[in-house]
């Protein structure tokens, strides 16, 4: 007989309260996690969407990509050797639209590569979010550092850097605007371990993202909130089950006296924990997915199935640990003590 289920059926309110708390905490965790992912995408989708590989910048740039300048000889050598590699540069800037309104963008240029948008001289390819600013294909944009005009050739999905939309431009135009002949970085896709290149320092994707000043601080804060919530939910489980177990000490003692195994009492508690967590998580996942779909325009919210599954597993593990720790009392319960305490 499933006594765990019988107890939940009889004491609906008690378990509903615990379930609601788990639901609210897990929903909050998923929402914050979605925002963390969204902000992360908003901050560095350009880099995050690249395949795994190694980034190289000059050693003397002190891990600051804007200060890195890769000399053309080194660049040519690497690009000759690695056919899929690309040299690229990123610079914050702005464009003026046809109404002469300034729009912040991040100019990105690269050598010919499948990894970046290849654009001809005088052309520009923008992130989709620029459509919301009223910019259309064929529009003419200007920049005070550029002698010519940019014609909008198209739009790309989710290409953002440092919370600004990316604008892909031709390398020649970039060189004119920023008065440089050197690219800031080299990217070699598919490399697990870095190569030793004279004067260059290698970074994995994660290491490179961490060099972006706003990215690491922002992600660290949000991740800390997410993990705090996870730990808090584990503690909630432990406290709630502890309180329930304290109330049930007498009952556990009697059940032990009549011969119920301690393992059966643990199973009862785990079943209840699993049932509550699965229901609460299912509801919070469903609601967070609704939020994912109907999040207000412009809100950087991005909750992937991968993150959802990972967090759900963590919640189940934390709930299990919390309940088990509190259940240690069950092991200590002496039947005799419970009998002497009086009516359950």
């Amino acid at each position: 007989m499933n006594i765990a289920w019988k107890e939940m059926k009889k004491n609906k309110a008690r378990f509903l309260i615990l379930g609601s708390i788990v639901f609210l905490v897990s929903l909050l965790t998923l929402i914050i996690s979605g925002l963390a992912n969204g902000l992360s995408q908003d901050n560095a989708a350009l880099i995050k969407d690249l395949p795994d590989g190694q980034f190289y910048m000059t050693k003397d740039s002190d891990q600051t990509y804007t200060l890195s300048k890769i000399d053309s000889n080194t660049q040519d050598k690497v690009l000759d050797k690695e056919k899929d590699a690309a040299a690229f540069s990123i610079q914050m800037g702005f464009v003026n639209d046809s109404a002469d309104k300034q729009q912040s963008v991040v100019f990105v240029t690269s050598t010919e590569s499948e990894l970046f948008e290849n654009v001809k001289k005088g052309e520009i390819v923008l992130d989709n979010s620029m459509k919301d600013k009223g910019i259309k294909v064929g529009d003419v944009l200007t920049n005070n550092q550029y002698s010519g005009e940019f014609t909008v050739k198209g739009f790309v999905d989710q290409k953002k850097f440092s919370h600004a939309p990316v604008a892909f431009i031709n390398m020649e135009d970039y060189k004119e605007m920023y008065r440089t002949n050197e690219m800031q970085m080299l990217f070699v896709p598919g490399e697990d371990s870095p190569q030793a290149i004279d004067g260059l320092q290698a970074f994995s994707k994660k290491e490179f993202l961490d060099t972006i000043p706003s990215y690491s601080a922002e992600q660290m804060s949000l991740n800390m909130i997410v993990w705090f919530l996870v730990v808090i939910s584990g503690m909630l489980f432990a406290i709630f089950f502890y309180m329930m177990n304290v109330q049930k000490i007498g009952l556990y003692g009697i059940l032990k006296a009549i011969g119920v195994k301690t393992s059966a009492l643990f199973k009862m508690m785990w079943t209840q924990m699993l049932f509550i967590t699965v229901i609460a998580l299912s509801l919070s996942i469903a609601l967070s997915q609704v939020f994912n779909k109907f999040a207000p325009e412009g809100m950087p919210f991005h909750l992937t199935p991968d993150t959802t599954v990972k967090l759900s597993i963590v919640f189940l593990i934390i709930g299990f640990i919390g309940a088990t720790l509190s259940g240690m009392q069950i092991k200590k319960v002496e039947p005799l003590q419970a009998i002497q305490q009086g009516e359950v």
């Binding site: 007989m1 006594i3 019988k6 107890e7 059926k9 009889k10 004491n11 007498g250 009952l251 009697i254 059940l255 032990k256 006296a257 009549i258 011969g259 119920v260 195994k261 002496e334 039947p335 005799l336 419970a338 009998i339 009086g342 009516e343 359950v344």
Partner: protein, 224 residues
């Protein structure tokens, strides 16, 4: 026939530097189909003796022989199995599981005792036991809706549904009024005879001794 023997059982408790001997070498044997009542003043050791005999706490010394085995030499799991399969318990309070109906309380006991009955057989068994304790009409009731006497009747039904060899009853009427106490004692005696159980009863109520076959008086941790 003797089914349960207590030989030179001692129990000492140590509290700091003070060691107190509660049982000072008790010898006792229990016979099948008999109600044996342990009586004595408070602190005479009668409840301690019952709980040791029932495997609810260990003895400090001595032997408890049941069906040819010595309970004091068994590990906790072996004692638990004996408690679940061969013993039945009735305490001062009914100690029913608050979230189970009367029927479910008995079903739980059948599961715990490891009886491999099918659901239909379990239900039949439960109906029979409930009619024995005259509680068939409260099968679907939760403990919160039962009176004290009714709860104790269900506790008795739970204690005997798996057909134990020995029934331990520790002050089973202490929380009941005089009429209900007599009803409960009459029921325990009747079931002991009908089901041929060995019953060890602890009571301080002299009126209840009328229902016992044998009365053993305890005084200062010894059989007087």
């Amino acid at each position: 026939m003797t089914v349960f023997t207590i030989e030179d059982v001692r129990k000492t408790f140590t509290n700091g530097e003070v060691t107190e001997e509660i049982l000072k070498g008790v010898n006792l044997s229990l016979k099948e189909g008999e109600v044996t009542a342990l009586v004595g003043a408070s602190g005479s050791g009668k409840s301690t003796l019952l709980t040791i005999a029932a495997g609810l706490q260990p003895a400090s010394d001595g032997q408890i022989l049941f069906e040819g085995t010595n309970l004091t030499e068994m590990n906790a799991e072996q004692v638990r199995k004996i408690r679940a399969n061969k013993f039945g318990f009735v305490f001062q309070f009914a100690h029913l599981v608050p979230f189970l109906t009367v029927e479910e309380q008995l079903m739980l006991m059948l599961d715990v005792a490891g009886t491999k009955m099918k659901k239909r057989e379990q239900k039949k068994e439960i109906d029979e036991i409930l009619s024995l304790v005259d509680m068939g009409h409260r099968k679907k009731a939760y403990p919160s809706s039962l009176s004290g006497g009714e709860k104790q009747r269900i506790a008795i039904a739970r204690a005997i549904i798996h057909k134990p060899k020995v029934l331990f009853a520790d002050e089973p009427t202490a929380s009941l009024d005089s009429k209900r106490s007599k009803d409960v004692m009459a029921l325990i005696r009747e079931l002991t005879k009908t089901l041929n159980i060995t019953t060890l009863l602890v009571t301080h109520d002299e009126e209840m001794l009328a229902y016992a076959d044998r009365i053993i008086k305890m005084s200062d941790g010894q059989v007087a």
